[in-house]
């Protein structure tokens, strides 16, 4: 019976008779042949019996043994056999999700290198991203622990003429701004040097601010115990000496004794009543242990004295912009009304969180951007790996589709594989985060606000999970769809080449994207390298890397002065003498090269005060007098700090209270105000008699009242500029007084010795001998202090360099992978080119050229990314612009070189293609 003709059964029987085995794919083909033959015979008019006979004859004539060799060795059939086996292992041909996952795990076990590399790349990416997110979240994104923290702003003086963008505010100006209706209230403070002294215990330095009594009301916080400063009480001008202390001081110094409230503590020998202890995590404005209430009238100070910091609460409904414009309008008016003190000055509001974070906010945002780029590069890298892998399985998938595998099953299988990789990668990432975070918190070389509160939480885990989700889809679905699209095309003309070409295009886009992001990262890190370089190369005017710096704060009791109400004779002359004795004691010890003191270190701004040089016209109004920074320095200070005297002499022990007032000016001063004349011997008049409780000019009249003609002082020397402004600003003219004639209670001691430890011992011995009740502060070398100024930028630079290097490596791997695969795919084309007479070198050049095009495209896109990130980058770089040619060229060249090196091995392989083998090769 014709209807009984079943070609498949016939083929199977014939195979069995031949004693051989053929894979299903081959059997399918033979069956199709017989069906065609049979159908054709019927079409030609043969009876079903005849048609069947012809088919069987064709079968009988065939020697299947000749088929077996090809059928078994053909790669297509090998893969098909494996695919069949895989399907069989799951118990049935359709794979469900769990068995797909099991199968994926088994596959990765069989090819562990691929799986390990993929999981590590992903783990590194998610780990870095989760860690940085956790840090950014706790440091930047969480609100400050104050009432309605969004309404809190800080207030700073600015002066465009002097290049000041963030200067301490003058108390008088502050009081004017505070009265603006855009503020509910505002509080200002300054930082006196305070020693906590108690009978029978070592004196200790405590970080103190003297602050308006309304500060806690402005912030909306209350002490954990005690009532705090009386609400609505007098802000200033009160004889009631009260303070609030920190939880840390309360626990470490007073054993957390609640009865501390109502007791007095001795701050610089003055008894202060403790009225509150703040909560453990309250750190405002920073690491402060004592909040003293201001007891002097801020309106009675000088508009020219910029030494206070301030926080203000915006009125309900007032925006930052509205407040800023109100402040600016008032600032302009104040400058017009008070040209002597306020010329060029205005004010600026900065949200409190931005201010507290300072450099860290933009730095962390840049870091977050960088880690996101790194993660994307990692994901793209893994995507390209998986794409290559999927393409190498194209035939297997083709056969499986041919065998009737549903697209859903294939997608399930590919998705299961990517899911296994993503989940494992994310697990590695979370483990890395959990391990790294405590280390980061403990070992970060800079003091990042709120970093200690960073902990992995649900938000971080959520981020990790979304990364897993996205990567799974990208890794699994994209290659699956790409492959299936090519498999289901019925257009034969599209053929095999088309799918490879499409895949190559996808691959190229992925690799170009990797290069682009690596480029952005490398340029950013190059900019940071340039920033740090430019910071380190800023001329400081001193050569003092190994010079030991310590601070000494003399209280009235330490110099035998009355606690309150002393005169110049009873307070300031002893202060000057004790400081000099301490320095003499230090110098007398072995190994000391030079020692001196000053009230300001380099990079700190001195007091800006008016002056007049004799012989120069005096302006009609006092406020039009020129201003210069005023510092006090002892003899030996310039020598100790390695500053250079350009002319004249240093101070000496003979520049004392009873001798002619002597000053040294810096070169900027000499060039601006004494150009063309010898500064030495010129007379400068100043009106600075005393600087509050900090220091006093011993040459001023006993009652401190400024005299109309000013206090004359002779210029005895010119010192080469020592940097007296923050990094990035122009050195200002400065006048140095002698500490013997213009002493300050708190000074920095600088000691140059054969070794810093010798200097440290010398300072300790001298203090013990001269002022046993004065604590020795922590010492640091100037090199360490200066490094701390660049620590934040250096840390960011180090991390970005690490990320940039990693990104470049991943991008280079991507380039290598792409071209290895591409060369393997094009072996035949290359072989034909070689057969047709192309030189191997030109084939190599072809590969390198194509890679160069790809990389240059990536670089161009990368530079666009840098451009987009410009606003964030400009806030973390210094002394270089985002278009800095050196940084751009270096980063691009580095990446280009890495990419070219990466495609050298594939290029060499392309050049070594044997035309004969190549033509034969698949």
């Amino acid at each position: 019976m014709a209807s009984a003709f079943n070609p498949r059964d016939e083929v199977r029987r014939h195979i069995a008779n031949s004693g051989i085995e053929l894979p299903d794919a081959t059997i399918d083909e033979l069956v199709a042949y017989l069906e065609d033959l049979h159908a054709n015979a019927i079409e030609e008019g043969a009876s079903p019996g005849e048609a069947r006979r012809r088919a069987l004859k064709a079968l009988e004539e065939s020697a299947f043994t000749s088929l077996q060799r090809h059928a078994v060795t053909h790669p297509d059939r090998q893969r098909a056999a494996r695919a069949d086996l895989m399907a069989a292992t799951s118990g049935r041909r359709s794979l469900n999700v769990m068995s797909a996952i099991r199968l994926a795990v088994r596959q990765f076990r069989q090819h562990p290198t691929f799986a390990i590399v993929t999981v590590l790349v992903l783990g590194l990416g998610t780990g870095a991203a989760t860690t940085v997110f956790t840090v950014v979240d706790s440091v930047v994104l969480r609100p400050l622990p104050y009432a309605e923290p969004d309404r809190l702003v800080t207030l700073w003086d600015t002066n465009a003429e002097k290049g000041l963008t963030h200067d301490p505010i003058s108390p008088v100006n502050f009081m004017d701004y505070r009265a603006l209706p855009v503020f509910s209230d505002a509080a200002a403070w300054w930082r006196p040097g305070i020693n906590l002294t108690e009978t029978g215990r070592d004196p200790m330095r405590v970080n103190t601010i003297e602050v308006g009594g309304n500060v806690f009301e402005v912030l909306g916080v209350k002490p954990q115990i005690g009532a705090g400063f009386p609400a609505g009480g007098p802000m200033f001008v009160t004889n009631e000496l009260i303070c609030v202390i920190s939880d840390r001081l309360w626990r470490s110094r007073f054993s957390a004794d609640p009865s501390i409230i109502g007791k007095t503590i001795s701050l610089n020998d003055t008894p202060y009543l403790v009225v509150g202890v703040m909560a453990p995590k309250f750190h405002f404005p920073d690491d402060v242990d004592v909040w003293q209430r201001v007891r002097w009238d801020l309106t009675q100070h000088s508009r020219a004295a910029h030494f206070m910091e301030a926080v203000a609460r915006l009125s309900p409904g007032t925006t930052l912009e509205q407040a800023q414009s109100a402040v600016e309008a008032l600032g302009t008016r104040l400058a017009e009304e008070n040209p002597r003190t306020n010329k060029g000055y205005n004010a600026r509001l900065i949200p409190l969180l931005d201010e507290e974070l300072g450099y860290y906010r933009p730095a962390l945002m840049v870091l977050f951007g960088a880690v996101a780029l790194l993660l994307i590069i990692g994901v793209l890298n893994v995507a390209t790996l998986l794409l290559t892998r999927a393409l190498s399985r194209e035939k297997e998938i083709a056969v499986r589709v041919a065998l009737g595998a549903a697209p859903r099953q294939l997608i399930t299988q590919l998705m299961a594989e990517s899911l296994v990789l993503s989940v494992t990668g994310a697990a590695v990432g979370i483990a890395a985060t959990l391990a790294a975070l405590p280390l980061i918190v403990a070992f970060t070389p800079v003091d990042i606000p709120r970093l200690s509160e960073a902990a992995v939480d649900m938000r971080a885990l959520g981020l990790c999970l979304s990364v897993v989700g996205v990567t799974t889809v990208i890794f699994g679905l994209v290659p699956a769809l790409l492959l299936l699209r090519s498999q289901f095309t019925t257009d034969l003309k599209a053929g095999e080449r088309g799918s490879s070409k499409g895949a190559r295009r996808t691959y190229s886009v992925l690799v170009a994207a990797e290069v682009a992001m690596a480029c952005a990262l490398l340029v950013s890190s190059a900019l940071l390298v340039r920033t740090v370089g430019s910071m380190m190369n800023t001329p400081t005017g001193v050569d003092a890397d190994d010079v030991t710096i310590s601070t000494v704060q003399l209280s009235p009791s330490a110099v035998g002065a009355p606690a309150r109400g002393g005169t110049i004779e009873t307070v300031w002359v002893p202060v000057a003498n004790v400081h000099s004795r301490i320095l003499d004691e230090i110098r007398a010890q072995a190994g000391i090269i030079a020692a001196g003191e000053s009230n300001f270190l380099p990079f700190s701004v001195g007091w800006r005060n008016p002056f007049l040089i004799d012989g120069q016209p005096r302006p009609a109004r006092q406020e039009d007098l020129p201003q210069a920074q005023m510092h006090s320095a002892s003899e030996g200070y310039f020598a100790a700090m390695g500053a250079t005297l350009a002319r004249g002499r240093d101070f000496s022990e003979f520049d004392h209270k009873d001798s002619v007032a002597a000053v040294i000016v810096n070169e900027s001063f000499a060039q601006r105000y004494l150009a063309g004349v010898d500064p030495v011997g010129q007379i400068i008049r100043t009106w600075s008699t005393n600087i509050g409780p900090l220091g006093a000019n011993l040459k001023s009249p006993p009652n401190y009242r400024p005299i109309p003609e000013g206090l004359p002082a002779e210029i005895v020397g010119v010192v080469k500029d020592i940097n007296n402004v923050p990094l990035g600003q122009t050195v200002e003219p400065a006048i140095y007084f002698s500490t013997r004639q213009f002493p300050f209670s708190e000074v920095f001691i600088a000691v140059r010795a054969a070794d810093p430890s010798i200097a440290q011992t010398a300072i300790r011995n001298a203090l013990r001998k001269v002022v046993p009740n004065v604590p020795m502060s922590a010492t640091q070398t100037w090199g360490e202090r200066f490094a701390a100024k660049t620590a934040e930028a250096r840390l960011l630079m180090t991390i970005l360099l690490f990320f940039g290097g990693l990104a470049a490596l991943l991008a280079a791997l991507g380039v290598y992978g792409l071209f290895s695969w591409s060369v393997a795919l094009r072996t035949r084309e290359l072989a034909i080119r070689l057969t047709l007479g192309a030189k191997p070198s030109s084939v190599g050049a072809l590969v390198i050229g194509q890679s160069a095009v790809l990389v240059v495209t990536g670089l161009a896109v990368g530079l666009v990314i840098v451009r987009l990130a410009e606003s964030a980058l400009t806030r973390v770089i210094y002394g270089v612009s985002t278009t800095d040619a050196t940084a751009l060229v270096t980063a691009s060249a580095l990446l280009l070189a890495a990419a070219i090196i990466a495609c050298v091995p594939p290029a060499l392989r392309a050049m070594r293609v044997d035309p004969v083998e190549g033509l034969r090769a698949e």
Binding site: T26, E29, Y33, L67, A402, T490, R828, L919
Partner: protein, 130 residues
């Protein structure tokens, strides 16, 4: 090809009695050429390839099913042709073969060689193209 010619002439020289195996060998050697030439024109599935060869050679050249597929697989292994499963509407699934770039190169070479061979047959053996 030269080897084949030598072989043929040597066998011919053995005796007047024509040796069928030489013709068979030549047929076998030409199988690749036939298949490459056919799939160069158009993609074909296996049965169609066999039928076309038989029809166009007037039945002079036939393949058994096994030898046809053995040849196809061999050509595919050498990347001269490429097969893929295609399912067209209303038709059963078949594996279509198409020529590859190297297949085309090989076809061109074979055409040249066979051209020279046939010229030699005409010239030396007086064989006229049919």
């Amino acid at each position: 090809m030269t080897k084949l010619l030598l072989d043929l002439s040597r066998r011919s020289a053995k005796g007047a009695e024509a040796d069928r195996s030489a013709i068979d060998a030549a047929k076998k050697g030409s199988a690749d050429l036939f298949i490459l030439a056919l799939v160069d024109e158009q993609d074909h599935h296996g049965y169609e390839i066999g039928r076309q060869i038989e029809r166009r050679s007037g039945g002079a050249i036939t393949f058994t099913m096994a030898s046809l597929y053995a040849t196809l697989y061999r050509l595919e292994e050498r990347a001269l042709i490429k097969g893929r499963w295609v399912e067209k509407a209303g038709q059963r699934r078949r594996r279509y073969y198409r020529i590859t770039e190297s297949g085309r190169a090989m076809l061109a070479t074979q055409r040249q060689d066979w051209g020279r061979f046939i010229a030699a047959l005409t010239e030396i053996a007086g064989v006229k193209p049919a």
